[in-house]
Subunit: 126 residues, 2 copies
Amino acid sequence: MAESLALTTEKKCEGNLNQSGLDVDECPVVTAIDVIGGKWKVIILYNLRDNTLRFGELKKLIPHISQKTLTTQLRSLEADKLVARKVYAEVPPRVEYTATPLAEQLGPVLDALCQWGQAYRQAHQS
Amino acid sequence: MAESLALTTEKKCEGNLNQSGLDVDECPVVTAIDVIGGKWKVIILYNLRDNTLRFGELKKLIPHISQKTLTTQLRSLEADKLVARKVYAEVPPRVEYTATPLAEQLGPVLDALCQWGQAYRQAHQS
DNA sequence: CGGAATCCGTTAAGATACTG
DNA sequence: CAGTATCTTAACGGATTCCG
């Protein structure tokens, strides 16, 4: 079972592969959560969608995050090659963050999340 | 502003509403992350997809989670009405967890996450 | 001045042992 | 079996300091 788990077939995740005895670590969902499972990462990437933003702009768009955490999460995203960080040697300093093509492929995830968020609100009759 | 933000239009999330001056808290993505943003919640729900599982079965399927965390996350999911918890008054005890219809609506999110996880692996040439 | 590093307190999560 | 109790470790928030 599970031939080369990478690119040949994409059926792996559709069904109940976990019940087939496979370790969950083999599942791409676990990989995805590992990378974007941080509390703020999806929101950061959502704000970075189609946008290049400075650190301060991101901070303004995500008011509830602390500077420190924003820095940490951005560094982590950078390490995973989901955001590109460009530093301008200027005064005042300027650092711009851009989503990489890999991050842009998250589009469907963001859309699905968005739709579900609405369904959730509806179900909880807000 | 934002007529009933629930079911009328679903365009809200497609574009750049954050740049429109809206607080991010208005965005359903933030709602979704609030609910399923826990480190393990998506993975739990993924394993619960189309399946009713006992506590121990879930634990086996998600080896890296601790009992305590699994309990906590399940309780949180239960409070948000994403899983139903059924206790059988037997010896030995038996507790079954089932995804609610609301959780089942996460299907597209899980699918998108799964696909992206594969793309991510591929990009990092694993 | 903007961005980030540091110190510290609080909360979430991990490991292990133990109980109904 | 399905948790709870306890302790330890890692993640996040706040404030201050630093540096270009």
